[in-house]
């Protein structure tokens, strides 16, 4: 964006003459003490008299004097281009900051500010900021500030406020000196009188002088002979006086507008000019500033721009205020939507205050439509959870959690072997928590959690996935040990964990063992799990078993046989699930026999005693082994998986 300083353009290579001595002195002073003297320094001259050279020379000298200085050289067009690019990228503020931190700003060709109101106010702002910060600004133009057409009065006064110097056309001696210097630089030698002839040709422009020199150098090189003064004259078409004499340095010195005859009217005019200037410009500046500011932040500013086109701009400040209010609302909506669905937040409606209504609709849609994370299963109500000494710690903790979610035990980790009812309790907590107002309870198995993340990564929707869980008021993960070895999920869970815990949202996990005993779990996760309450659920006690049996039998038929319940509850069972399995076998057997559910039947089924009136005819013999048909076929899988102890298995196998 910024042009590099051309190393050839330094003070050393700048030929000083009467016409440019003041400008060079001012430039040197500024380079030695940036920001201290003559700020801004405004150099103007006709084309080809060394403005750019001098400007870069200031840059070089300043850099040489203080290498740490941040020096920027650029033409106005580059500045405008950069500004527009920054605005387009929504980086208007960054752009401003960038230039406000420049120690020496060198801007070339500012005459192109004509008809660029917004750049004028931007440059005005920048100049003010730089001056306030004690930074140097040097500008060049082909005419003095008041003569730049259509230039904001404030900018004129600002630019003229430092030192305005011009570079005049070089005099004859200077022209000769320049030609000698340049010829030397090119290693070209001329016969005496040649350069003087060129210099004598009334050229007011150093660039044209260089052009003439170039032609001589080229001619000499091609023809391999040195030219004399006469040839040079012919070559350059000098001699016929006035051929292009008046062309150069035709700068009209248009003075300030002549004052009218009546001084009183002149005073009046000046007075009105000042008042009107203040009035109109203040008004325009306010709108312009608002446009720039919001455009810089990437918002559409049609409403404000329309203000400039209206005949009677009424209530400008109110319009700006309401516009600002709308933008603030858009910001709020965008932030809200960003949390729910980052992709939806990128929509252009959030950048256009004229479409605030649409933006509200989008936000509502996102608010309603954001897929909530999976919730707890309704199959596990807390009321159905059997409580006994073996799990009363866990249940007590669960109740405490329900009383004060996120505050008392966070996280709560339910630990126990498989089949002890951890999942039930987890879902039951989830169901209870979900009753709360505006509660979003994420309750799912760790495996599902991992699968969702993988799908999100696959669909490039990780942000959406994260947002979904960040909304949750509680996160309940079943079988957290399944996260072992899944690095990315652990990472995500870690962040989510911290976020939710910070916001005092409840976290509940289940695991088969104490967190630190779980293999493949990162230390940071394990320690966080252990940091809450780890409640253990042990093998079901008689009380738990009884209530489970009563509930299950109650579902089967109205009056469970107390003897049966006693029998089953007294049998050792490692887990509730095992107990349920046994019961199912008994129920299956009863169903096969079309008989009642009794303790006797249970004993027969579970301990291998032949039922009294089993239908032997249904059985058959093979190799002397009797295969019971008492539901054995029916629930083959159950039998295979649910043998609760070795004794049962042996009996079955050897039957």
């Amino acid at each position: 964006m910024t042009s590099a300083l051309n190393p050839k353009y330094s003070f050393d290579t700048f030929v000083v003459g009467a016409a440019n001595r003041l400008a060079v002195t001012a430039g040197r002073t500024v380079a030695e003490n940036p920001g201290a003297a003559y700020n801004p320094l405004f150099i103007y001259s006709g084309s080809g008299l060394g403005k750019t050279h001098l400007l870069m020379a200031v840059g070089h000298a300043a850099k040489k004097a203080a290498p740490a200085l941040n020096i920027e050289y650029l033409t106005l067009d580059e500045y405008v281009e950069a500004f527009h690019a920054a605005i387009a990228a929504g980086q208007g503020d960054a752009f401003r900051r960038r230039f406000q931190n420049v120690d020496v700003l060198l801007v070339d060709d500012v005459q192109f500010l004509t008809n660029r109101k917004e750049m004028q106010s931007e440059l005005l702002r920048l100049t003010e900021a730089l001056q306030v910060g004690g930074h140097q600004i040097v500008l060049t133009s082909d005419r003095p500030p008041p003569e730049i057409a259509d230039l904001d009065e404030r900018l004129i006064s600002r630019l003229s406020g430092g030192l305005v110097v011009d570079i005049g056309a070089p005099d004859y001696e200077t022209r000769v000196a320049i030609l000698r210097r340049k010829a030397e630089e090119r290693g070209a030698k001329f016969e005496p009188g040649v350069l003087e002839t060129v210099a004598g040709a009334e050229s007011g422009n150093v660039r044209e002088l260089m052009g003439a020199l170039n032609r001589l150098v080229a001619f000499q090189a091609v023809n391999d002979r040195s030219i004399n003064a006469e040839t040079a004259k012919q070559l350059l078409g000098i001699g016929s006086e006035g051929a292009d004499g008046g062309k150069a340095a035709a700068r009209e010195g248009a003075g300030p507008g002549a004052r009218g005859p009546g001084d009183e009217f002149g005073d009046f005019l000046a007075d009105v000019t000042v008042t009107l200037g203040k009035a109109v410009e203040a008004w325009r500046a306010r709108v312009g500033e608002a446009v720039l500011r919001w455009e810089g932040e990437g918002y559409r500013t049609r409403r404000l721009e329309a203000l400039l086109e209206r005949d009677t701009p009424s209530a400008v400040d109110e319009v700006i205020a309401s516009f600002t209010q709308d933008v603030e609302r858009l910001k709020e909506l965008e932030a809200e939507v960003a949390e729910l669905d980052p992709q939806a937040a990128g929509q252009s409606v959030f950048r256009d205050p004229e479409r605030l209504g649409e933006a509200e609709e989008v936000a509502t849609k996102v608010r309603d439509g954001a897929a909530p994370p999976p919730g707890p299963s309704a199959a596990f109500p807390l009321a159905a959870y059997a409580v006994g000494p073996s799990n009363e710690v866990a249940v007590g903790a669960a109740r405490a959690v329900l009383k004060q979610p996120g505050k008392k035990y966070n996280p709560l980790v339910l630990v126990g072997k498989s089949g002890l009812g951890k999942t039930h309790l987890l879902n039951a907590i989830g169901l209870e928590l979900a009753r709360g107002k505006r509660a979003v309870v994420a309750c799912l198995s760790t495996q599902a959690f991992v699968d969702e993340l993988i799908a999100a990564i696959d669909g490039d929707r990780v942000d959406w996935w994260r947002a979904r869980y960040r909304r949750a008021t509680a996160l309940l993960l079943d079988d957290i040990h399944l996260i072992a070895g899944k690095e990315r999920t652990q990472e995500e869970l870690f962040n989510l964990f911290n976020l939710l815990q910070d916001k005092e949202r409840q976290l509940v996990f289940t695991a088969p063992a104490q967190p630190h005993a779980l293999p493949g779990l990162e230390e940071r996760i394990a320690s966080r799990l252990a940091g809450g309450l780890v409640a253990e659920i042990t093998e079901p006690d008689r009380e738990v078993k009884r209530s489970v049996l009563e509930r299950l039998l109650g579902q089967q038929n109205a009056s469970p046989d107390p003897a049966l319940v006693d029998y089953l509850a007294d049998r050792p069972a490692e887990s509730v699930r095992g107990l349920v399995g046994e019961l199912q076998r008994v129920v299956g057997a009863a169903a096969a026999q079309d008989g009642p559910l009794t303790a006797g039947l249970a004993r027969e089924v579970l301990e291998g005693q032949a039922p009294r009136d089993s239908r032997r005819s249904a059985g058959f013999r093979t190799s002397g082994i009797v295969v019971s048909s008492l539901g054995g076929i029916k629930s083959r899988e159950k039998i295979v998986w649910d043998w609760s102890d070795v004794a049962d298995r042996v009996i079955e196998e050897f039957r």
Binding site: G262, E264, D267, T275, A279, D311, P313
Partner: protein, 199 residues
Amino acid sequence: MSLVNFTTREITCKIVYYGPGRSGKTSNLHYIYGRVPDSRRGRLVSLATQTDRTLFFDFLPIDLGQISGFSTRFQLYTVPGQVYYNATRRLVLQGADGVVFVGDSQARQLDENLESLQNLQSNLLEHGVDIRTIPLVLQYNKQDLPRELILSAADLDDALNFRGVPSFSADALHGKGVFETLKGISELVLKKLAAGTAA
């Protein structure tokens, strides 16, 4: 009428010189006319009777040229001061951006001044304009007359300037205070423009 036209970038200010008969409204315009360069002024339209009394109104357009990118024009009007020309006064007053009330400093004219001021208020009200919101300045003309005949500016302020608007002493015939008054009203009119609200 629109004071500022941002599309054509024009500003037109209509300023009406109001006051009782023979208070010196037309003198103000004549003096201004004499001080504005030819290129800047239009024709001073004056419809006067044989005895130099304003019959309808005077009209002086002044072109101030480009100011802040706006081509700026002032239109100065006077109203006939005589009581019986009220319809004309009301007509001229229509769409005024600012009013200069030219009062006659002669002590015996005080009642006329007050009457004219009340007339101004009611005529403005006919156009739906509150005198408290329109830019208004007072000019106490004929301050060059012998002391015993006139009221001082301070006295006139007490009597007429109960709204506390800017007031100027003047001798319109010789030009004293004329441009001060014009500056004063222009400033008020243009400042109103600054507020972004057109009258």
